[in-house]
Symmetry: C2
Subunit: 443 residues, 2 copies
């Protein structure tokens, strides 16, 4: 990361770091488009009233004022704008606003910055890039999208040099059905406590639930359920059956969750696991929920989360159900940069630098460069007609692999030292040098 | 443009409009990278003190506050942040901050949103995308970059479906040298008045200059100079020589401007013209300045402007000279959309829709889709196992050209009606359908 970040929480990358981010973003976009998701961008601002619908996020919103309006309370009171803190609230508003002009089910990807006025800390930024996919239906949305979306994300993430991933899935209906069968009415409290299982352990969760009036007969099966992990519907059903808890909603949930992990195992083996303690988001999602960890860095937390909303938005009697997941791109990039294992092969797109023999012949070098460019080879021309050594250093400092000498009509690979005659109109660049690539530093 | 824009000045595109913008942005990036420019993104916010250095822009800045800090004057006074209103101020700050880690001359492109709290009007947005290229030197920056950058922009713009462009160039040294030779000391006033030539005519400019104490002997040659246009150094020198005004600075300026238009004529014939009334920006640029109009829509104003700063930034004794140009992408996109001549060939990336014969066989359709995707063909699977007619309608509404029937193993081009047998593992898509393209609606 750029060594001196003058504003805490607002990451900024150096060119070679940005190159890595750009390669990741291109790859994500490529996967999303392969699966038919179309690009949407929404404006960075939303009316404050939209942003504050969820009370708990109110503190994180950046509010905008025009400089000359500051102190003008009349202007400040109504119609205030804030920067969006995610891409889901804007999507809901966009879908409602343009519903008449969209084709449903509407599959979109959205890669944009979001802002949160949180206290910055490790891996938490105030400005960061998210990459979201969502599918939105009008009135109905088939269950099979709850299988499709996490698997598109699995494919997208597996194409990145981030090591093995694991998607943990759960289903609101499983947890709610289980709770209802146990006579638990405060399901949100059950979820909040179970969410702390990894942090405070079964004893801590037990204590907290007892303090909130849960009985032993509720706590014990609840804890047993929360510790269930399974990679097939058969395994899942067997483990849950052992607990002897039954309800219709639980059965529906188990059927959905089982179908999800069986389909995942078939199409993307080893990536998804049903994990019944996953509670995050269960309070606003209505069936499937997903979290994704890097197997080698579970401490980083979830790098890609989401789930299904039965009503992402509602207008009058019309509802828009949705399924979506969101990748925290800046957090991922920051992690990769701090690990230092993967790097962009150079800090510029340039593959060839054309030498300038004298300022008077710069036109010749420029013409040669255009010749390379006409065939898609990213080419720069030396800034000065300095000694060859200095010009080669210009290439070297940026990681540009090839230098072309107009006088001798030769091209030199400055990494291997190999130098051969070359015609700019026909020379073909070895494919490993054509585009900037990610390279494993230690291999 | 999305018909109901709920926030004036914050444009938002429908999927097919966004597709057009995305194709334009991809093309710009491609040209910039071909010429060796590397991507940089800066954070969206800058300290207010950075943003307010140029007094005249102060009214346009959006200031940020965290919601809970509103009304807390202590926090509001110092360390306030504002959204950047261009990409030049952030670049200057980025270069100074990371100078030790950058290689100079530093060539970067930057495509980002900027925000201005202006009163919205035709073609003026409060949030819009800019695409900038700049080259920044440390202490020195050779003149040839003043030729390179507008020509890279010319190439970038000529690759877009926007019709013919014209780049109008001028040089601060020409105007300043000319003024000095006439004994004019208030050069800024001369520039401000000449800038209105097209708007208020020679009479209006004369009146304004007289009001500001300019003499007839100054106004008359000044107006004559401002009306000079030339496409070669020879023509330029002849026309200026007729005015009988001489100074060393003027000669230097004419030499630079002449070299620029001669080089442009050689590499990019018919695109650039020296236009000595171009005054915009001459007050902060130090030699070349550029404006670009669409020949078919001059009323749109400049779509790409810039120039050379001798010191983009200064730290102690160290200066960073720069040359840069900026394209107003949102304005261009908005213009293209309102003209309606060019459209994206479809509103989704999808080239093939795989039919689902029954929900029980969805897996088969998904497998076929994966087969197409494995060879880079963007593919979607039908949302329901409805009648073929309904499924084909899904494709049709989005402009997806091909529909694949798993049962008959046939692919149908729903535009031409042609239907043939096809193996998803080997079928090759006609190149005109492979990617979304821009099509001329009236041709």
């Amino acid at each position: 990361m750029a060594k001196t970040t003058s504003l805490s929480g607002f990451p900024e990358w150096l060119p070679n770091e940005r190159m890595l981010e750009l390669i990741l973003l291109d790859q994500l976009r490529h996967t999303f488009e392969l699966h038919g998701y179309t690009s949407v961008e929404t404006r960075a601002v939303e009316p404050l009233t939209e942003l504050l619908r969820k009370g708990e996020t109110s503190k994180e919103v950046y509010v905008l004022s025009r400089l000359q309006d500051i102190g003008n309370t009349e202007t400040n009171s109504a119609r205030q704008l804030g920067l969006h803190f995610d891409l889901t609230v804007p999507l809901a508003r966009y879908v409602v606003e343009h519903a008449g002009q969209l084709a449903f089910p509407f599959k979109r990807y959205q890669i944009q910055k979001v802002w949160r006025g949180e206290r910055p800390q490790e891996g938490r930024f105030r400005e960061f890039t998210q990459a979201d996919i969502d599918v939105i239906g009008q009135e109905t949305l088939p269950f099979h999208y709850e299988i499709e979306l996490p698997l598109v994300m699995a494919e997208a993430l597996q194409a990145l040099p981030i090591g093995q991933i694991q998607i943990k899935a759960n289903n609101r209906k499983v947890v709610q059905g289980f709770c209802e069968a146990l006579g638990i009415t405060d399901i949100d409290q059950a979820l909040r406590s179970l969410d702390k299982l990894d942090k405070i352990g079964p004893e801590g969760v037990t204590a907290e639930l007892m303090n909130n009036g849960f009985t032993d007969n509720q706590i014990s099966p609840l804890l047993a359920m929360a510790q269930i992990q399974a990679t097939s519907s058969a395994e899942l059903n067997t483990l849950v059956a052992k607990l002897g808890v039954h309800s219709e909603l639980l059965s529906t949930g188990l059927q959905e969750l089982g179908a999800l992990i069986d389909a995942a195992e078939l199409r993307c083996p080893g990536v998804m696991v049903a994990d019944l303690k996953i509670a995050r988001g269960l309070d606003y999602y209505t069936s499937s929920v997903y979290e994704t960890i890097l197997v080698d860095a579970p401490g980083l937390g979830s790098i890609c989360s989401g789930g299904r909303y039965d009503s992402l938005a509602t207008v009058g009697k019309r509802t828009y159900p949705g399924v979506g997941l969101s990748i925290g791109v800046s957090r991922l990039v920051s992690h990769l940069l701090s690990q230092g294992q993967v790097q962009a092969s150079r800090s510029v797109p340039t593959a060839v630098l054309v030498i300038v023999d004298a300022e008077e012949t710069r036109q010749i070098s420029t013409g040669i460069a255009d010749s390379f460019r006409a065939r898609g080879i990213c080419t720069d021309v030396s800034p000065t007609a300095a000694k060859y050594g200095s010009q080669i250093k210009y290439a070297d400092r940026r990681g540009i692999p090839f230098v072309y000498f107009p006088e001798s009509r030769e091209i030199k690979n400055i990494i291997t030292g190999e130098q051969t005659e070359a015609d700019p109109a026909t020379w073909s660049i070895p494919s490993e040098y054509a585009r900037v690539q990610l390279v494993n530093v230690f291999s």
